[in-house]
């Protein structure tokens, strides 16, 4: 007896668009990037921790937050991965070239960790503990989203410093 023919059905290639609210502090975060090329975090008056991106509540203390603090565009690599498989960027629908490096970055003055792309894909030239700086798009091209930060770059340490 021959195997039965089994049919499948392919769904149409359409996405479902969402319009996500970014909120008051999230909006402030992206507006500060555009206006001043710097970051903004939020401090908890109870535990004193500064978290970035800023949000309304300290989960640990369960307290509402409102003290925004400016943060410099520099930080330290806590962890990284050089990704070798392709990724369809949901913002553009285009495939991102591989490899690219995803970084887990502690911004100076923050207690939690921020993440973004680091423009170094040679594993011999990147290490946990290295200092990095955010590279922003020109202000005129900024759109108020995470891609207003182009990437982070490793800050070269000059000899004798």
């Amino acid at each position: 007896m021959s195997a039965p023919e089994l049919l499948t059905m392919t769904s149409p290639d359409v996405g479902m668009p969402y319009e996500w609210s970014i909120g008051i502090y999230g909006s402030k975060f992206f507006q500060e990037i555009r206006a001043h090329q710097r970051f903004v975090g939020i401090r908890c008056p109870q535990c004193g921790k500064v978290r970035v991106p800023p949000r309304r509540v300290c989960g640990t203390c369960f307290r509402e937050l409102d003290e925004l603090v400016p943060l410099p565009p520099t930080g330290t690599i806590i962890a990284f991965t050089i990704v070798n498989y392709p990724f369809i960027d949901p913002a553009t629908g285009l495939e991102r070239p591989v490899p690219y490096t995803y970084g887990y970055i502690q911004l100076d003055g923050a207690d939690n960790i921020f993440s973004h792309i680091i423009n170094e894909t040679d594993e011999t030239r990147i290490k946990v503990g290295m200092r990095v700086r955010a590279v922003f798009k020109p202000a005129a091209e900024m759109q108020g989203n995470i891609q207003d930060i182009r990437h982070f770059e490793i800050i070269e340490v000059k000899h004798g410093e």
């Binding site: 996500w20 962890a79 991965t81 991102r96």
Partner: protein, 379 residues
């Protein structure tokens, strides 16, 4: 706590593409097989918990599509969207709440959607999703943080892959039984540094079901009951950046409470076998640290020393673990089923002799955001 037990269970074979079966078919198969295993009928089952995910199934309120296949017609049915161990936790609460029995069934077919897209969609759409973060790249970050903190080597992680794929050769349901060397793991293609292809679990299609009963149902079932001695779960922050990825805090909390409930003081000595959620090779040592089965940073040496081998003092993942079969949502329920089979002495070729106490671990959310721990015993 009143006594409750796992009295029956079933799993499908795990495969990359079950082209001939809908998820409805799989749920029906494991439901009937779990009832048969227990020697019970649907009349003995008071309520049903299904475990599913709308994105994976490609339909809204996916649970409603499998209710009748799970025997829920005319019964009280409820659903967990999360790992199967959490579905079982809900089931246990319902039995403790007065039902005689709950049947818990989990299914997923990773082959039908796009797991990479779905796992990217788990992350925050404002700050993380546009950067490409998904389960694999998030795990790679965690591996980098963990290996860097303690000097754990990629070789030590590769030893876990060799052990677990090797164990899977004794489990006829496993998706990827493999006889491989540490060298082969290290030379397999880089997926996301430091993870290589053989450090990563496959995406499998599969389903699993188990029956939790009170003492009356345990007496009626034909199986040796695997009694629930302790169970607890705990979660930590959603944003990866709010967590210390090399220190599984939620796991420590959940384990501590489960041990306390089970009266376990020295888990390393008192637990005879553990099934843990090793979606990536580095996770097995990291979770063993979180479970308090070794000190922080010592997890890397456990495979090399032979402690966690099938014939070691504390065998871990004798079934082959998640590295050898990873049906999303189902994989934790499979750990719990495997632990119950070890208690029953019915794990077949991967049975560990003389198991009195078994631990099962499930996790949900990226990099182990939440954990559920079960301690099963033979009395």
């Amino acid at each position: 706590m009143e006594k409750i037990a796992i009295v029956g269970a079933a799993q499908t074979k795990y495969e990359s593409r079950k082209a001939d079966q809908t998820f409805y078919d799989m749920v029906f198969d494991v439901t009937t097989a779990a009832l048969e295993d227990a020697g019970l009928t649907l009349a003995d089952i008071d309520n049903i918990i299904t475990v599913s995910n709308d994105f994976l199934d490609g339909r809204t309120i996916s649970s409603m599509a499998v209710g009748e296949a799970a025997g829920a017609h005319d019964k009280n049915i409820s659903t967990v969207e999360g790992d199967g161990t959490f579905g079982a936790f809900y089931g246990a609460m319902r039995v403790l709440g007065g039902f005689r029995s709950t049947l818990v069934v989990a299914h997923s077919k990773g082959s039908e959607g796009n797991p990479q897209f779905i796992s990217n969609a788990m992350f925050d759409p404002i700050y993380h999703r546009p950067l490409g973060l998904d389960t694999t790249s998030a795990a790679a970050l965690q591996a980098n943080a963990y290996l860097t903190r303690y000097g754990i080597t990629e070789e030590q992680c590769a030893q876990v892959a060799v052990k677990n794929h090797g164990n899977a050769r004794h489990n006829p349901l496993a998706h990827q039984p493999l006889e491989i060397s540490v060298e082969e793991v290290l030379r397999s293609p880089k997926v996301a540094d430091p993870l290589k292809l053989l450090d990563c679990s496959p995406v499998s299609d599969g389903a699993a079901a188990l029956i939790i009963g009170n003492e009356e149902i345990a007496r009626k079932a034909k199986t040796k009951p695997a009694w629930v001695k302790g169970v607890a779960h705990c979660a930590e922050e959603y944003f990866l950046g709010d967590r210390d990825l090399a220190n599984p805090k939620a796991l420590r909390d959940a384990a501590k409470r489960a041990y306390q409930m089970a009266g376990i003081r020295d888990p390393r000595r008192e637990i005879d076998v553990a099934e843990v959620y090793d979606a990536f090779s580095y996770m097995e040592p990291l979770w063993l640290e979180g479970l308090g089965l070794c000190d922080p940073g010592q997890g890397g040496q456990l495979t090399e020393s032979g402690l966690t081998a099938m014939n070691g003092a504390l065998p871990v993942n004798p079934s082959g673990g998640v590295l050898s079969a990873h049906a999303l949502l189902v994989a934790g329920l499979a750990r719990l089923i495997e632990a119950s089979l070890q208690i029953r002495g019915e794990a077949g070729a991967h049975q560990i002799p003389g198991v009195k106490t078994a631990l099962a671990h499930g996790t949900h959310g990226p990099c182990g955001q939440s954990h559920c721990i079960w301690i099963l015993g033979e009395s």
